[in-house]
Symmetry: C2
Subunit: 309 residues, 2 copies
């Protein structure tokens, strides 16, 4: 199986490294010549043009704003396409009719660029892989097998369920980080700021156009997740206004503390099951993931040991 | 100068280690016998009772909810008292009339307990030290000198200005972390959650009674900082509702991104100045800190190289 990776930034560069380390013949392309040269200098194989691009599998590893330009260059390509964009519904709509399976490795950083790429970026990380009604199950399994080889946990999900989930766990955190930076303006707060501020605002270092593409490209789901967050903060505000704010704030905080202490959920025992579209989606909804592929009809999966709140 | 540390958790234990490493004869006390034994096993000196407690300087290193019980035991003590509690105005009110200088090392972690204590915890960290109208300047300088020896950057501030600043940089982040946990409930979001969620919710691991004590004990300032945060998030909501949410969210995010890239502020050149109460407070308000004490009338200070937003 010949694999091609388009876009050699943090994710694409790491993927090209990891695929080669896993023994695949993978080829990379980046529109930036310096990036291609850096990849070659790292022992990776690249091509200088997308003319004649013909791998069996193509991974689009460019950010959402650059997808359109790449797809225009691939209009005659008929292989299997996957991507790593953090919003799946717009990609699904854009690639309707193509042989496409949307993916999203949960391995982002606030840094970007090939110089930060890392052969181990995907080990023990989740790789969300979309199984929508139009997705061919055989293609899904091909990609699942590939990402499992890189050490990832493959989570089956639909594009819509993915987008609703990442709105809460990734996109809203970017908005909160920015709001926190704004609320903590001034020389004295900036001088006193330490680890709570540093960690709470780390993702405010993400480039604005990427945040715009992901949160703005997932606006409806982000608005819902933001409204849930704001509703929770209204509870905090009420606690601050209580007769005994110390007790009330502590009480308000307790369920989140308990919940966070149980993340990440401990994995339960593995289970081998027949490959089935609905059962795969049920696995993802239960917080489980694919652990290994036994043959083209059986996979081994893992679920959280306890019910997740 | 004999120094005593009451409470040997993360902060107190680290402080006792650091004071001894700096060559001081420091003694520790903790109400928990196991903690005292652990400190002794680490080569630290402890006492088993507060009866006869007579060091020149006492550091109250217990959390706010435990302060009252300790002060009851110290009612005949007439040495210099400082503390490490994260809210300064309630401590100032409680210790009105005592020889007290409020302090707050910005070196918290989500962990607690002597087993996490670290001799280097205060190196290069900020130590806010309150210089209120009733504070004796000589006492302030004694403590500043002590904390400078541990490698800390001593920031002069008033209790009220401190509390307003930490509301934004520390207390609100705890509330946001908890709200984010609540908004990201469910097995699929929990399975997909990665570094944005991990860092954005890290401080939700802080014990609820400590969050209640600090945020609830600073309710008025926290409410103001929370309202600034909510106002910023209203801007995010408007951006999500815009005709082109990608562009609007990116644009909304940009000032915070620029601001966060400039944190922590780069230090400017050092400057030696005469010790003066108002100039010290102006230094803190400008984001500066005490770098070293030259003699009892001159100190060397450092300010950010550029104006802080």
């Amino acid at each position: 199986m010949r694999i091609g990776v388009i876009g050699l930034g943090l994710i694409g560069g790491s993927l090209l490294r990891a695929l080669n380390a896993a023994g695949h013949e993978a080829t990379g392309y980046d529109s930036d010549r310096t990036t291609r040269l850096a990849a070659v200098a790292s022992g990776l194989r690249t091509v200088d043009t997308l003319d004649g691009w013909r791998p069996d599998v193509t991974v689009l590893a460019v950010p959402l704003p650059a997808v359109e330009a790449v797809l225009a260059r691939l209009k005659d390509y008929d292989g299997l396409i996957t991507d790593v964009v953090s919003v799946k519904q717009p990609m699904r709509e854009r690639l309707a009719g193509a042989r496409f399976v949307g993916g999203h490795p949960m391995a982002g950083k606030e840094t970007s660029g090939f110089e930060h790429s890392d052969v181990d970026l995907f080990a023990h990380r989740v790789w969300a892989l979309c199984l929508d009604e139009e997705t061919r199950l055989a293609d899904w399994l091909t990609l699942a097998g590939l990402f499992l080889e890189l050490g990832a946990r493959v989570v089956p999900t639909t594009a819509a369920e993915h987008d609703a989930a990442v709105a809460a766990i990734s996109h809203v955190p970017h908005l909160l980080a920015a709001a926190l930076v704004e609320a903590a303006a001034g020389p004295l707060p900036r001088a006193l700021a330490a680890s709570s501020f540093r960690d709470g605002t780390r993702v405010a270092l993400t480039r604005p156009e990427l945040v715009g593409a992901m949160a703005g490209g997932n606006a409806a789901a982000v608005r819902e997740a933001l409204d849930r967050t704001l509703a929770a903060l209204e509870g905090a505000r009420d606690a601050l206004d209580a007769d005994d704010p110390r007790a009330a704030v502590g009480e308000w905080f307790t369920p989140a503390w308990e919940s966070r202490r149980n993340w990440p959920p401990a994995p339960g025992p593995t289970l081998t099951m027949a490959v089935d579209r609905e059962r795969l989606l049920a696995l993802g909804r239960a917080g489980g993931w694919v652990h290994s592929i036994e043959d083209d009809r059986h996979i081994t999966v893992m679920r959280p040991a306890a019910k997740v709140p």
